[in-house]
Symmetry: C2
Subunit: 500 residues, 2 copies
C-alpha cells in the first residue's frame, strides 16, 4: 500500500503541526505571561497556515484517491479503511470552504470576540449586534460552501457531530421538552428541599487541588501520560495519546467548581488517553465527535461523580481534607447539595436537570437566526421569552442572557447541541456498561473504577475516530441516540432527591 | 524596499517555526509527562525540518541578494543593513553544510548521547570512544564544509561566537594561564580560610523558590514578559522579546544551587527581554553570541550576585526566610561561603577562580582532537594530565573526568570557549558601566538594580544581534576582549577573601 504510506507521511506532518499548535495553545492558557500574547498569535497563525496548506493541497486529495483504491477491499473496520474514510471527510470539509471565506471568518470573529467581551461587560447587546449580523451572514456562506440537503444548520452541525442532522436534534429536543419542562417546574416548587450552603464555605485552593488530583488518578487518568493544571476556563487538550493535558479552576469559596471540573476534564482526558496505540500520531487518534467526547466527560462528572456510590468512597476522604467545613455534615446533606437544582440563568453554572433546556434554547435560536426567521435585533427578546417558557425565569439583563456565551462571537454556530447529545449518550452508554458488567456500581462504591474504565476503553475509547458517532452508538448500545434513557435517569434521581 | 519586506515575511515564518520549537522544547523540560517524549521528538523534527527548509531555500538567498542591493546605501547601524548582514551570515552557515552531513551529524549525536550517558554512568570511556571518533570525524567534515583560513577550529567556533578566531582564544588563555594557575595554587594552600558548611543545611524548596523569585524580580526581570520554573538543567529560552522563560533547580540540602542558577538565568533573561521592541520577531532579536550572553549571566551571577554589596541588601532577607539556618551566621562568614574555592573536578560545580581552567583544558583538547594531534584513545590521559597541571588534582575516574560533559556527545565542539569569553567580557563591561555610572555599587547595596540594568539595556541589550560580538565590545568598552580586567577582578576579590 505505497500510496497509503505516502498519505500517512503527509498526514503525520499535518498532525505534528496541529499538535505543536495545541502545545502553544495549552501554554497560552496555562503558563504564558501577558507579554507573550502578540507573538503567540503570530506563531499560531504560521502553524495553522502550514498545517492547513499541507492538508488541503491537491497532493493530499490525489493520495487520498489513490489510497482509496488500495484499500477498497479492506475490511470496513480496518484501520486502513477507516483512515481513508475519515480523512476524506475532513478533506471535504476543509476544501469546500474557500480560503478567502475562511480568512474572512477568522478576521471577523477575532474582532467580534473583543466586541462581545466589551458588550457583555457593559450589558450592551446593541454594540454587538452588527458583529453578530455579520457572523451569521458568514455562517450562511459557510453552510452553502459546505453543502447540505435539508436544513442549512446541517452543514454547520456536521463539523462537530459528523452525520448528525438538524431534524434528528429537533426530534430529540421535542421529545425531551415535553417531559423535562414539567420535571423542572415540579422541582422548582420544592427547591427548599435541598440546602447547598455548605458548598459556599472557605475551601483552601491547595486542598482542593490535592483532592482533585487524587480523584483524577483514582478514576484511571494516567499521570505518566498527562498532567493536571490550573486554567481560567477548564479544558482538555492532547499532543499525543500519551500526552493528554487536563485543566481545572479553583474557587476559594465554592467547592464544586474544581471537583466537578476536574472530573469532567478527566473524563475527556480518559477518552483521549484511551485511543489504541496503533492509531497514535494519526488523524484517527482522539475522539470521534464532540458529542461522544461530552458523553465521556458528563458520564464521569454526573452519572459517576454526582452519585451516592462515588461519594461513599470519596466523602470520608473529602471530609478528612476539609474537616472544619464538612466534618459535621452528614452524607445525605452533602449528596443533595452537590445535586442541587437552581434557578440559574447561566448555562455553565446550571445543574443536570436544567442544563439541556439552555442548549435547546440556543439550538432553536441558531436555526432561526441562520434561516432568517429571527432578526438579530429581536434575538434578546426571543432569548428571554424562551427562558421564561422553558425555565420560568427571565434574565434581568443581556449579560446574564444572550451575551453570556463566547460561542457565537467565535463563529461556533452548530456546536451547542453536542453538549446535549453528550448528556443523552452518557446515559445510554452507562446503561449498556451496567448491563455488560453489573458489578460497576459496587466497584465504584469501593473506589474501584477499573471495571467501568475498561468497558469504556474496549467499547469506545480504543476506536478513536474510526467510527462515526452514530455508528459507534449503534455498535455499542444496539440502538440510535435517544432521550428516554436520559429522562428516566433524571426522573429517578431527582424524584428521590426532591421527594417528588 | 520591496525585496527586504518579502525577505522579512519569509524570515517571520522561519522565526515563528523556531519559536514554536522553543515552546515545545521548554514544555519538554518543564512540564511534559514521560509518555509524551516519543511524539514530542516527531513534532520537533517536523518543525525544525520546515524551518530549515524554508530558510535555506534558494528563494531566501535570492531575496537576500536583492535586499542587499536595496540596503547598500543604508547606514551600517541601521536595522535594515544589520538584518541583511546577520541573516546573510546565518544563511551561509546553514547552506554551506550539505543536508546529508547535517542528517548524519543528527543521527550520530542522537545515538552518541545515549552511549555517552551509559558510559558516564558506568565509567566506561572505551564504550564511548568509537562514538567520539565518529563525531570528531564529522566535525572535521563540518569544518571543511563551513570553511576556514587558519585553524580548522575557527569554523566551529564561529557558529557560537561569530568572528572569533582560535588564535585569539589561544592568546587569551595563554595570558590567563600564567597568572591564574599561581593564583589557584595560592588559594588551594589556604582553603581552610573559608568554611562553607552552612551552605549544606536543610533549605526547604518552597522558601528557596520564594527567595529566587524575589531576587529575579528585584534585578529587573519582567514577570509580565517571562516566568521562572523548575527544570533538571537550568536554562533560558525565548519565544519573543516579550516572552522569555527562565528555569532553575533546587537542592534541598545545598542553597547556592538555586540562588546562583536563578541569578545566572535571570542574567540571560534580562538580555533577551532587553532587545529593542522594533526588532521583535526578527532574527535580530536576542543575543549576539553565546559569549556575550554568558557575559550577562555571569555578571549578574558573580560580579553582582557574589558581591558584598548585593548581600548587604539581600542577606537580611535571606536570613528572615531561613532564620533557623542562617539567623546566627554573620555577614562575612556567609559572604566567604558563597565565594568558597573548592577542589572541584566538575566544571559545572566549580567556582569563579578555577572555572576557566576547566574551559582552557577543553579548548586545547578539542583543537588537538580535531587536528589529529591527540588520538581518541589517549584523550582520558591527556585530560587527567591537564587537570593535574592546571588544577593540581587528578580525577579518580573518567566519570568525574573526560565523561562529565554532554557537549561532545552532542556535536557541540567549539562551544566551550564561549563560557570563558563571557567571564572575561563580564568584567570589561562591568568596569565600563561603573566608569559611566559610578553610583552603581551604592545603588546595588540599596537594592536598586535599575542603574546597572539601564546601562546594560542601552549599551548592549537593545542592539540584539545587530553587531558582531567583537564590534559590540569595541563600541561599548573601546577595546577588544582581554583577560587583564578579569584577572585583576579575581585577584582583588580572592586576595581579600583568602587573605593572600
Amino acid at each position: 500500500m505505497e500510496k497509503l504510506e505516502q498519505l500517512k507521511t503527509r498526514l503525520a506532518e499535518v498532525m505534528n503541526l496541529s499538535y505543536a499548535s495545541a502545545v502553544l495553545g495549552w501554554d497560552q492558557q496555562v503558563n504564558m505571561p501577558p507579554g507573550g500574547a502578540a507573538a503567540r498569535a503570530e506563531q499560531l497563525a504560521t502553524l495553522s497556515k502550514l498545517a492547513h496548506e499541507t492538508f488541503v493541497a491537491d497532493e493530499t486529495g490525489k493520495l487520498l484517491d489513490e489510497a482509496a483504491i488500495e484499500v477498497k477491499d479492506a475490511d470496513y473496520d480496518s484501520d486502513e479503511a477507516a483512515l481513508v474514510r475519515v480523512v476524506q471527510h475532513d478533506y471535504d470539509l476543509l476544501t469546500r470552504v474557500p480560503t478567502a471565506l475562511v480568512q474572512e471568518i477568522t478576521r471577523t470573529t477575532t474582532l467580534a470576540h473583543e466586541t462581545w467581551a466589551k458588550a457583555r461587560a457593559e450589558d450592551d447587546y446593541e454594540s454587538f449586534a452588527p458583529s453578530l449580523e455579520k457572523i451569521y451572514d458568514l455562517m450562511r456562506q459557510k453552510a452553502d460552501a459546505l453543502g447540505y440537503e435539508d436544513r442549512m444548520y446541517d452543514a454547520l452541525l456536521d463539523q462537530y457531530e459528523p452525520g448528525m442532522k438538524t431534524a434528528d436534534v429537533q426530534r430529540l429536543f421535542d421529545g425531551l421538552r415535553k417531559e423535562l419542562v414539567p420535571l423542572v417546574a415540579a422541582i422548582f416548587e420544592r427547591l427548599d428541599k435541598v440546602d447547598e450552603s455548605i458548598m459556599h464555605l472557605d475551601y483552601p485552593e491547595d486542598r482542593q487541588a490535592e483532592f482533585g488530583l487524587m480523584v483524577a488518578k483514582k478514576l484511571g487518568y494516567d499521570m505518566e501520560r498527562g498532567r493536571l493544571d490550573k486554567a481560567v476556563h477548564p479544558f482538555t487538550t492532547s499532543f499525543s495519546t500519551n500526552d493528554v493535558r487536563i485543566t481545572t479552576r479553583y474557587y476559594p469559596d465554592y467547592l464544586p467548581a474544581s471537583v466537578f471540573s476536574t472530573i469532567h476534564e478527566a473524563g475527556h482526558g480518559l477518552y483521549e488517553q484511551g485511543s489504541a496505540q496503533v492509531l497514535e500520531g494519526s488523524p484517527l487518534a482522539g475522539g470521534t465527535s464532540l458529542g461522544v467526547h461530552e458523553s465521556q466527560s458528563r458520564m464521569w462528572e454526573n452519572i459517576v461523580g454526582r452519585s451516592r456510590g462515588f461519594w461513599r468512597y470519596f466523602y470520608p476522604r473529602l471530609q478528612a481534607l476539609f474537616s472544619e467545613q464538612l466534618g459535621e455534615v452528614d452524607f445525605e446533606t452533602f449528596y443533595r447539595a452537590i445535586n442541587a437544582v437552581t434557578h440559574s440563568l447561566i448555562r455553565t453554572e446550571s445543574d443536570e436537570v436544567t442544563y439541556n433546556l439552555h442548549i435547546m434554547l440556543r439550538f432553536e435560536m441558531e436555526n432561526d437566526l441562520l434561516e432568517g426567521k429571527l432578526a438579530i435585533k429581536d434575538a434578546p427578546d426571543a432569548w428571554n421569552a424562551k427562558m421564561e417558557s422553558y425555565l420560568g425565569i427571565t434574565p434581568p439583563d443581556d449579560t446574564k442572557g444572550i451575551l453570556q456565551d463566547v460561542h457565537w462571537s467565535s463563529g461556533l454556530t452548530g456546536y451547542f447541541p453536542t453538549y446535549s447529545l453528550g448528556n443523552f449518550l452518557a446515559v445510554q452508554y452507562w446503561d449498556k456498561a451496567l448491563q455488560d458488567v453489573p458489578s460497576i456500581p459496587d466497584d465504584i462504591e469501593r473506589g474501584e473504577f477499573g471495571s467501568l474504565l475498561s468497558w469504556l476503553r474496549d467499547n469506545i475509547h480504543v476506536h478513536g475516530r474510526k467510527f462515526w458517532p452514530a455508528e459507534l452508538t449503534e455498535r455499542v448500545t444496539g440502538e440510535p441516540i435517544q432521550t428516554k434513557s436520559f429522562m428516566r435517569y433524571l426522573t429517578d434521581k431527582f424524584t428521590d432527591i426532591y421527594d417528588l
